[in-house]
C-alpha cells in the first residue's frame, strides 16, 4: 500500500519535529558531558 503523500503543512511539521529531536538529543549530550566534567573536578 502506498503511503499518503505529504502536503506542505505535514512537511513543515515533520521538519520542526526533526529539529526539536536534534535539539533535545544535543541537550542530553551537553548536560551529560557537563555532569561528567563537573563531577570529575576538571572544571579548570
Amino acid at each position: 500500500m502506498n503511503a499518503m503523500p505529504m502536503n506542505d503543512e505535514h512537511k513543515r511539521r515533520r521538519a520542526r519535529n526533526i529539529a526539536l529531536a536534534v535539539v533535545l538529543f544535543a541537550l542530553v549530550v551537553l548536560f551529560y558531558s557537563i555532569t561528567i566534567v563537573r563531577m570529575g573536578g576538571g572544571a579548570h
Binding site: D8, E9, R12, A15, R16, I18, A19, L30, S33, I34, V37, R38, G42, A43, H44
Partner: protein, 314 residues
C-alpha cells in the same frame, strides 16, 4: 502631526498587517525560529565573547568553554526574539525588517515571546550551574538591558537609543572573561568600552541611508530627529573618541605591538571614512563606513586573538 499620534498611526498600520498575517501561523520552518535569534548579530556577539574568554588568564575545560559560548549565543538570540515580539509593529512597516518571521506571519508574536523567554532563562541557568554565576549574572544583565532598557524604553523615545542601548552589545567580552576567571578586570572593561563607542558611528552610518525607513516606522534615530548634518558631525565626534580607546589596551601594556600598530592603521582608515561622511552629503560614504565598521571591529578582536595565539600578547 505630533510624534505620538504619528507613531500611533504607524503602530496601528503595523498591527493591522500583523493581524492579517497571523492566519498563516503554523507554517514556520526551523529556519524561521533560527531567524528569530538574529544570527548575524549573534555571530559577532559569539566572536567577541570568545575573544574575552581566550584573553582571560587561566583555563576552562573545553566542554564548559563550549557551554559558555553556547549560552552567550542563545542568550543574545533570545533577547533578539523578544525584541522581534515587542517591535513586530514597526518591523512590519520597515523595508529592512519586513521579511522577518513575525511580519511574514509564519510565527505569532506570542510564540516568539515564549521562545525568547524560555531561551533567556535557560541560557542564564545553564551558564550559572555549569560555568559560574558571575558570568550568568552579566548574561542576565545583557539580556535585560537589551530588552527593557533598549527595546522597551529607549528605542522609540530618544535618538540616544543606540548610544545607551549599545551597552547590551558590548557585554559579551566581559561574559567570556568572567566565564574563565569568575571576576572582571581592566582589559574586559576596555573591550566593553571599544564596542560601546563603536556602536554609534556604526548604527548612525546605517541610519543615514535608511532614515526614510526609520521615519516611516516612527523610530527617532538621529538623522530623523536632528537631521543629516548633525548626524555626520556626531559620527565624526564618536570616531575621534573611539580610536584612542581602541589603542588603550596597547598603551596600557595589555596588548602587544602587533595589535598597537595594526589598530593605529585601521583607526586611521576609520577616521578617514568619518571625515568623508562629515564633509559629504550623499549616501556613498555612509555605506562604506557601515561596511568597514563591521570589518574594523572584527579585525580589532581578531588581532587580540592572533596575538594570544602566537604568544605575542603583553
Amino acid at each position: 502631526m505630533s510624534d505620538a499620534s504619528f507613531i500611533g498611526q504607524v503602530n496601528e498600520a503595523g498591527n493591522a498587517g500583523l493581524d492579517a498575517a497571523y492566519d498563516k501561523t503554523g507554517e514556520a520552518r526551523p529556519a524561521d525560529y533560527f531567524a528569530l535569534l538574529k544570527p548575524r548579530v549573534m555571530s559577532l556577539v559569539v566572536f567577541t565573547g570568545l575573544v574575552g574568554m581566550v584573553l582571560a588568564p587561566g583555563t576552562l575545560h573545553p566542554v564548559l568553554a563550549i557551554t559558555a559560548l553556547l549560552c552567550i549565543a542563545i542568550g543574545a538570540g533570545a533577547s533578539g526574539a523578544i525584541n522581534m515580539w515587542y517591535d513586530a509593529d514597526i518591523d512590519a512597516v520597515m523595508t529592512r525588517t519586513q521579511g522577518r518571521p513575525i511580519p511574514q506571519g509564519r510565527i505569532s508574536r506570542d510564540e516568539a515571546l515564549g521562545f525568547g523567554c524560555v531561551l533567556s532563562v535557560g541560557s542564564v541557568l545553564v551558564m550559572g550551574l555549569a560555568v559560574n554565576w558571575v558570568a550568568a549574572a552579566i548574561l542576565a544583565l545583557t539580556i535585560g538591558f537589551y530588552v527593557f532598557i533598549y527595546t522597551m524604553w529607549l528605542k522609540r523615545r530618544t535618538p540616544q537609543n543606540i548610544v545607551i542601548g549599545g551597552a547590551a552589545g558590548a557585554f559579551p567580552p566581559m561574559i567570556g572573561w568572567a566565564a574563565v576567571t569568575g571576576d572582571l578586570s581592566l582589559l574586559p572593561m576596555l573591550l566593553f568600552a571599544i564596542i560601546f563607542m563603536w556602536t554609534p558611528p556604526h548604527f548612525w552610518a546605517l541610519a543615514l541611508y535608511r532614515s526614510d525607513d526609520y521615519a516611516r516606522a516612527g523610530v527617532p534615530m538621529l538623522p530623523v530627529v536632528a537631521g543629516d548634518r548633525e548626524t555626520r558631525r556626531q559620527i565624526l565626534l564618536y570616531s575621534l573618541l573611539l580610536v584612542p580607546i581602541t589603542l588603550s589596551p596597547w598603551i596600557l601594556g595589555l596588548a602587544g605591538p602587533l595589535y598597537g600598530s595594526a589598530t593605529a592603521v585601521l583607526g586611521a582608515i576609520f577616521l578617514g571614512l568619518a571625515v568623508r561622511i562629515w564633509r559629504g552629503t550623499g549616501d556613498r560614504a555612509a555605506k562604506h563606513m557601515f561596511a568597514y565598521s563591521i570589518l574594523y571591529l572584527f579585525l580589532l578582536f581578531a588581532l587580540l586573538l592572533a596575538e594570544r595565539g602566537l604568544g605575542w600578547g603583553a
